[in-house]
Symmetry: C2
Subunit: 437 residues, 2 copies
Amino acid sequence: MSQNGLQANNNNQPKEGASSPYMSNDPNSNVANFKIIESTLREGEQFANAFFTTEKKIEIAKALDDIGVDYLELTSPAASEQSRNDCTVISNLGLKAKILTHIRCHMDDAKLAIDTGVDGLDVVIGTSSFLREFSHGKDMEYITKQAIEVITYIKSKGLEVRFSTEDSFRSDLVDLLSIYKAVDKIGVNRVGIADTVGCANPRQVYELVKTLRSVVSCDIECHFHNDTGCAIANAYAGKFYYYYFTGATHIDTSVLGIGERNGITPLGGLLARMYTGDKEYVKNKYDLTKIREVENIVAESVEVTVPFNNYITGYCAFTHKAGIHAKAILNNPSTYEILNPHDFGMTRYVSIGHRLTGWNAVKNRVEQLDLDLTDDDTKAVTNKIKELADVRPLSLDDVDVLLRSYHQAKADGSHTHFLKKIETPEHITAISAEATA
Amino acid sequence: MSQNGLQANNNNQPKEGASSPYMSNDPNSNVANFKIIESTLREGEQFANAFFTTEKKIEIAKALDDIGVDYLELTSPAASEQSRNDCTVISNLGLKAKILTHIRCHMDDAKLAIDTGVDGLDVVIGTSSFLREFSHGKDMEYITKQAIEVITYIKSKGLEVRFSTEDSFRSDLVDLLSIYKAVDKIGVNRVGIADTVGCANPRQVYELVKTLRSVVSCDIECHFHNDTGCAIANAYAGKFYYYYFTGATHIDTSVLGIGERNGITPLGGLLARMYTGDKEYVKNKYDLTKIREVENIVAESVEVTVPFNNYITGYCAFTHKAGIHAKAILNNPSTYEILNPHDFGMTRYVSIGHRLTGWNAVKNRVEQLDLDLTDDDTKAVTNKIKELADVRPLSLDDVDVLLRSYHQAKADGSHTHFLKKIETPEHITAISAEATA
């Protein structure tokens, strides 16, 4: 990878774009002021491979705190003895992030949780018709009564409290709004909507958040599963509105998106998305250069490879290959980059040793090597690279040897003959071996 | 994984959901009739690792044709000699899918492409202010003139032709609509919009497609990069509208989403998304059980691992872990599943040997093993599983040994004593070894 890479000049700042209502830095956007509830230590623990020791949880909590996430959500103390102990331990770390734990809407769970010293409780109950029938089987009146009792109790103990339904997008709308209105009335800090099965799309999220906003005055939290690829877009749709309409205030994430099934909104991907909406706010609030570190900790712990196409930190996220792209990116990175890799502690590569390369990208390398070649020379070498790369891709070293040797041959006028002699990538290797012999 | 998995009963069909405008099978949706332009052999070739031999391209083309994608898009014959040859070879395979190649808006490229025998040409030109300044530097009048010349020529040869801008979401809107209107007027088959840098969000896509729909009468193709996690949601937003509004008609995908940087809308993820919009249409049109095969071919060829959290085929996509989920999913899979794994040739797992397990999930296993245990028995064993799993996760074999041994101990009344004796996961291993000794 790095052998075949060519770092581009990053000095050119993006110029002001043309007139379009679709520009990414929309002046009407209202992305700022969202809060992240980082749930790697709760939702993430529901990932198939996850088994976090107390030490690992502490390491992850600290790494997330370094990034500057607003909240950490932990597994319910009712899940197991270690889970209870971990809530106590992490609450006592003195982190900047507020510590939450996620409990069923039940007094026993609430009491157990409060005793751990957490800052707040995320209370959840299933409400969709599917869940009402097959999961806990309780009706809405009972649910509402229980919710009020539990919330009132938590508030009386001085803790922050959120009330969320489960599977909100398949729940009866009237039931949903009724219970949110009831808990808002008694002063819940936040209501949460959750796409537990990953069925929602951004348009539905927009509509539901808008409707909910007209019913409650408290904060709104969003939790999105990614089964059908909308977890990031849904989070953005919940938050992002035109005309200064304030949608959701809190977004649930996990590192690499780990969670039940294929997971939820990933922390890194969400930050990339939000960065396009309000770069300064996101850069100033969160340390984006530390995303990679916590991803590596979590990936190692749950024994997965960071996906090749991961947001920001995937190894090809800032690699440019097609000739037409390479040319433009070398002139001005913002032509093909909406994310500045440097803001995320990453580096850009422009790959040139392949059949899709273009002469402008090769020319840039000629200039970096300070070789005196005309455009026609560069085009001739580019055609040779394409021919050879039909056999196998060339490393940047191969490209450099080809360019330098061509340049040398030009001194005695043998450059055309030189190119003809190079028939396979191995000929370059041979030249290289000769030169170092 | 499979050792720790418990397959759920899939006989229960989902019941009718409650009343909500946010239900996934929205009666107002208009998802059907989209066409897939599968671009693994074009956009995918721009992925950092991609180097496809002719044989590999043929294998991928056939595997995609088996799924039933509508089009295959190939790298421009102008890119290299092998690229030209591959267009000819794949055009002559006799596939059901139409074969396209993707060319710059240039007569030389068009002539070269037509000679390969492809069914149609996807013509592209950069139009954003960024690209106009830094890439090809041509003004709109010149671009329009050239587009008309190239399109007219391609049509005169009887081929299908699409005209797309690049970086459409950062282009000047008036320029954009002007050129689309001009090419629509001379009978282009399709216009394409492309989020080349991955900056667009679904709301912007909706607005741009809606505006474009009012200007052109031809088909509309969408191409979305995934830098900020919206590639699938954008494709859906381009296509999906309420009130029978027809948006985009063609969607570009690649296998695993491979392409420039972290890629574009992935084929599998798009199909998962579309399935939630119109299950019958998607199931009948595409062979969803063959997604995994082509993903494996491509992953091996470009030397990447299929991401752990990949849509549909990621190894945990259908794994359920949390106790509350496991209970519901065993009663009725649709409570926590919007995708039926069987429709994709996949299998569901419910994981029970961990600290988040619940007694209802364990009870289901008791029934599968045909053991005669009361609910109190099951709860006692579940608490023991949680205690042991705080040390390390248990395999399904471990859970089975624990359940069977408890059941055996019950015969002579020593079951309570038996559970007390089991203090670490290794004790289960010891019992297991004893039994087989």
